[in-house]
Symmetry: C2
Subunit: 313 residues, 2 copies
Amino acid sequence: MVRIGLDVGGTGIQIGVVDQDGRILEKGSVVTRIDLPFSEQVAQMAACAQDTLRRSGHTLEEVESIGAGVPGIADENGVVIFCTNLSWFNVPFRTEFQKYIDKPVYIGNDATVAGLAESVAGVSAGTSSSVFLTLGTGVGGGIVIGGKVWSGAHGVGSEVGHMTLELDGVPCTCGNRGCLERYCSATAIIRMAKEQLQVHPDSKIMADCGGDQSKINARMVFDAAKEGDPVGEKVFRRYVNYLAQAINSIICFLDPEVIVLGGGVSKAGSFLLDAVRAALPRYIFYKQMPYARIELATLGSDAGIIGAAMLQQ
Amino acid sequence: MVRIGLDVGGTGIQIGVVDQDGRILEKGSVVTRIDLPFSEQVAQMAACAQDTLRRSGHTLEEVESIGAGVPGIADENGVVIFCTNLSWFNVPFRTEFQKYIDKPVYIGNDATVAGLAESVAGVSAGTSSSVFLTLGTGVGGGIVIGGKVWSGAHGVGSEVGHMTLELDGVPCTCGNRGCLERYCSATAIIRMAKEQLQVHPDSKIMADCGGDQSKINARMVFDAAKEGDPVGEKVFRRYVNYLAQAINSIICFLDPEVIVLGGGVSKAGSFLLDAVRAALPRYIFYKQMPYARIELATLGSDAGIIGAAMLQQ
């Protein structure tokens, strides 16, 4: 038996046929066309899924289930409630997709799905509980407990990025202030760098962005830190401490076996991981007890397909 | 079959024989004697448990298990790692207790156990996931997922009070800054009241404490708020907003069915509950989705016995 995973993104939809162990057997993709009606978008995805399945050498009879990871949330009936990037609001994804491929269709949040993928076929494989953090434009989360995705009792959980990390802190796009993602995302790194450039315009980062601060990205700041640029180092150190406090909050609350760092910022690799591991102990509450391993995600962009395919009831 | 629950506190140990539905059939208690050796303390508890069992009309053969809720943590071998109030550090509670009553012995954190009690026989009965908050001198937490206690992969979870709520915030007894319990505990209410009295010495609270600020307690502050005292109202409003943000963080992360407010501060009843429920919506991330009900604990001081008795593997 195989499963089909759809990684539904704002620019493209990656589709894969995946075996029971989370290995991708064949891939396909379609461009996201938000100009098309929802039914037409689903028709294109289903056609691509059928084509990818054929190329994998497997048949429809061998397909156990279909999963879709979306940057949004869905209800228990397979209705996508919000998926802003695709302009999907209350669309019956499951029912629509089943018009083309009549198999069980599961839907999960993209960060949740990536966390599931790592727990099945990635760095947290073999663990029973894990929290996955996507450190990107925002901060997403995926919780696995007892080997299963936990999206909450109402499907609104694992929104790690909108936990409060600072009362009355930096205004967030969600309308609150001080949300975790305002301190732990790539966006936060860029904001902190710009703040520092106000008083340290001689930083290497200013040269690297050619004086155009709109070109600053997280990698540029981390690279400057690696090369000993004082602004880069300061922002990196601050970011690491914020992230360590966020991770400590997750440990205090849920105490998973593993916390996995994914998303664009995690591409800094061991430079980030080593610093976070070194910063964490000072915040840990039970200092003599073992606590979650902190690891880097290993599946990269395949996590979306694999995790989606692994979704189940 | 019946179970025996021990609510191990710093001043007394409450012991109860409890039926399968979480009803207390008989109670007993012993005074906590931290001057005694550990083995002697356990001998006294066991003797009281045996006496309480006899008075309940049940026999040892009918006892399914024994549970102890302790203000600390234990490992999977039944060794209490930390229990500062009783000066217990790495003591083999299970083994020692089984010398007297040879039944399965389970140990849980006191807040966890109270949460379990509410989920079996209290306000969150019938729900599958809940988070219990003890709003007292500190803030403790109890997590139930899938009807079972979740204390974490290493037993260090549900320490809600030490999640970061404010970066570089109020110094905490744990050595960190800005821990949640520095804003959501009775201690926080008292601190905020004292801060306000510096600039508003004409407050009713100053009269109520007879000018001795060491006598201020959370109830005094809330009572002043009820009577329209500006300092009382300001502290209450601020406390409610802090607690609402803490609750929102729990919803963002875990999204349980119910969040139960227990502990001393929750004795303010509907005055607190109504205000928290009213403050919460502005912080909620998915504003159009259902989210956790917020409720008051109903079992009071019996929760410790009932929850301890309900502990299982």
